[in-house]
Amino acid sequence: MTSYVSLPMYGANIDERMRLIAGKCKSCGQLAYPQRPVCTKCGGDQFDDTPLSGNGTLYTYSVVAGNGAPSEFDDEQTMTGDVLCGVVELKEGPRVMVRLADVDPEQLHIGMKLRAVIRRLYDQEGFLRYGTKFEPVGS
């Protein structure tokens, strides 16, 4: 099936993605999100699970035009046309690439306040995949 997010890959870190669980380095306190095996600050490899607040600001973004997103989003793109993606800078520091939800493309701007919500992503291999998207605060 080529390059895609397999069910095992989807399932392996689902907690981390859905509940925004960062790893806090036991040696230096640096937060890793997405989690990684080795701390980029001190090289430590022991972490404590630390849930993030889900609040952040938009660091950069793009409106991906129809039929541009990976093909598992085809159904959605047929309905909505564009796919909105961006990088959110979380209040606690880490940045992460995410889907943007419930926002008018014209409204997007660097620095706008966002918060995490769980939304449907797509169907694949008979399973409905859910994931974390970010929407404007107040929307």
């Binding site: 890959m9 409106v63 990976p70 796919v83 990088v87 690439m97 889907r99």
Partner: protein, 390 residues
């Protein structure tokens, strides 16, 4: 360290060739490279081969390199396939250089190939949708264009770069390709029309992006002290650099710098004993036009943040002080993923030997040429510096 020289280069035309096979394309690149060795070379004398490909479509998943060696008539050589996304053959070049520099190999080839036209558009998106961190970037719904678009958006935000500066690179490269018979896209592109192209991944438009391309290329290298046996015009590989970086752009401290390019360039300049100022012309990795602007800064051609002004000055035009992507670049010459890195070397070698395919695009008085080949959105970068032997 043994000095290394290029003694022959060859590539196919870049384009869409749905009726041709991988073997056929690679054979043509090999024949062209062998024919370019002025005094001749027996293909059986090639001892090592490094073949770059992403292997789109996965038709030949394993033992890709030995299969290509058969097509090249170089059976038996110590051959392996190198993958580093779009920088696959930039690293093939780097490793071919090391094999010779180590003294264990007298003659080696670096090659690259991609056959992207075999797959329906939908499957190409499956393969190419993500070149970064699959789990996070793919689930976010972005494609490759979207990643570079987000870097472009930050560059505009941090440095006041305008959309017009990005499109200037695309327009320059499209028009450069008019004189390149090997290029995929040979239709003039006017700036005003380019600025009105439809959205691809904002702020990038369809004018700012490369397409889907088939093609292959090969570079033949040998010990520099043997080069005169093969040609009176060898080209020395005076610098080679390679580096990796965080695969996902969200993990990088800055999204407007490719640290991989900076590190690889530093190694290559240091090995060559030169600075960025000594580079007379370059082929850089403009998969999306913003990438060329980032390359200007990260290679040290201009100050950080000044790429917009730099391209606006005309410095990188064909008749500028330091032509960049005189071939048309990835945007117009074409970007058959695995072939791009060694294809860039072909272009630089031909220019340094005064063998550009048309007089119109032959650069004059060029001493040092540079290639920059980027994998993914900067996760791997290879930089080479070449110099003609006087």
């Amino acid at each position: 360290m043994v000095d290394v020289a290029v003694i022959g280069v060859g590539q196919t035309r870049y384009g869409m060739f749905p009726e041709r096979t991988l073997k056929d394309l690679f054979h043509e690149a090999a024949i062209n490279a062998l024919n370019d060795v002025d005094k001749g070379l027996d293909p059986q004398d090639v001892e090592e081969a490094f073949i770059g490909t992403l292997s789109t479509g996965g038709a030949q998943l394993g033992n890709f390199a030995p299969l290509m060696m058969e097509a090249a008539g170089m059976i038996g050589a110590s051959a392996r396939h190198i993958e580093n996304a779009c920088a696959s053959s930039g690293f093939a070049m780097r490793d071919a250089v090391a094999a010779i520099a180590s003294g264990r190999t007298n003659i080696a080839v670096a090659g690259g190939i991609e056959k992207m036209s075999d797959l329906p558009r939908e499957k190409n998106r499956l393969w190419l949708g993500i070149s970064g961190d699959v789990e996070w970037e793919r689930l976010a719904g972005t494609n490759f264009a979207g990643i570079y678009a987000m870097m472009a958006r930050r560059h505009m935000h941090e440095f006041g770069t305008e959309k017009k500066h990005i499109t200037m690179a695309a327009v320059k490269n499209r028009n450069n390709a008019l004189a390149n018979p090997k290029a995929q896209f040979r239709a003039a592109l006017e700036f005003d029309r380019a600025m009105k192209a439809p959205n691809l991944a904002s702020p990038l438009t369809f004018s700012d992006a490369c397409g889907i391309t088939d093609g292959a290329s090969m570079v033949i290298l040998c010990r520099a002290d043997m080069a005169k046996n093969f040609t009176d015009q060898p080209v020395l590989v005076v610098g080679s650099g390679g580096a990796s970086d965080y695969v996902a752009i969200h993990d990088r401290p800055s999204m407007t710098t490719l640290e991989g390019t900076k590190r690889a360039a530093k190694q290559a300049y240091s090995m060559a004993g030169i600075t960025a100022d000594d580079i007379d012309f370059a082929e850089v990795h403009d998969c999306f036009a913003i990438a060329e602007l980032l390359a200007y800064e990260d290679l040290g051609f201009c100050e950080k943040g000044d790429a917009g002004k730099y391209i606006e000055s005309g410095a990188t035009a064909r008749d500028g002080k330091r032509p960049v992507n005189n071939s048309g670049g990835l945007i117009a010459k074409g970007h058959p993923i695995g072939s791009t890195g060694t294809g860039q070397i072909c272009e630089v070698v031909n220019q340094l030997r005064g063998r550009a395919d048309t007089a119109e695009r032959q650069l004059q008085n060029v001493g040092y040429g540079l290639t920059q080949n980027v994998g993914g959105s900067g996760a791997a970068v290879a930089v080479h510096v070449l110099k003609a032997v006087e």
